[in-house]
Amino acid sequence: MVKRYSKNPVGAHYGLGDWLLQRLTAIVMAVYTVGMVACLLWHAPASHADWKAMFSGNVLRVATMVFVLALLYHAWVGMRDIVMDYLKPAGLRLVVEAGIALVLAFYLVWAASILWGAR
């Protein structure tokens, strides 16, 4: 009888969680996209004042922030998939992944400051 292999041969086990979260964040973004398109079709902002009024409501602000958070996580998983597929040397991969993480962190702070910051 073959002895059952008891060790799990693969890595750090974040794969399935990331896979699932990539799907969940996709659904969040899809819902926001449909809502935003409907919103713009229903009442297209005609002036700066309109546009500003639209984003002064907390509902759209929070929804946009949730969209951005979902996007950043989604982009992290997607970009890491691309890096894992094409960049093999560990050092290069580490540097590029760190760069992607930094860029994503920058997007987060930037988006938050646009939505809530200096006005």
């Binding site: 546009w51 992607i100 860029v103 646009i114 006005r119």
Partner: protein, 128 residues
């Protein structure tokens, strides 16, 4: 029997023409995702910052978006987003085992490719 593995043949065929529709959907999904991460997202954030920031910023971007060249670029951006959107919905359906047989998967891939272009055309019709 040789102990070292033979070097694997390298054959890069970067032409997309031979790819079946699901393959095209897949590579466009990847390329559009990459382009949306950079440079499209920072450009959109920059535009949002300026247009929300001041009256001058709003009218500046209004001028920018009225140029035909910019409108064509914008259509490209809309296509990238739309393709990523529709292809993503198709993958979500495939994940829950809807349409995973060969024929429906091919058909849905064609639908995704058409919807992406169609979305860009509709937006183009709206902004022209």
């Amino acid at each position: 029997m040789s102990s070292a593995p033979k070097p694997r043949p390298k054959y890069y065929d970067l032409s997309l023409a031979h790819l079946p529709p699901p393959g095209l959907v897949s590579i466009f999904h990847r390329v559009s995702g990459l382009a949306l991460f950079f440079p499209i997202l920072p450009l959109l954030l920059y535009a949002l910052q300026q247009t929300l920031g001041s009256e001058a910023g709003w009218s500046h971007w209004k001028d920018v978006f009225s140029r035909p060249v910019v409108k064509i670029i914008l259509l490209g951006v809309v296509w990238l987003y739309a393709h990523h959107f529709w292809a993503g919905l198709r993958y979500l359906l495939l994940d829950v085992h809807i349409g995973i047989d060969k024929a429906p998967a091919k058909a849905s891939a064609v639908v995704v490719l058409v919807l992406g272009v169609l979305t860009a055309l509709v937006v183009g019709w709206c902004i022209w």
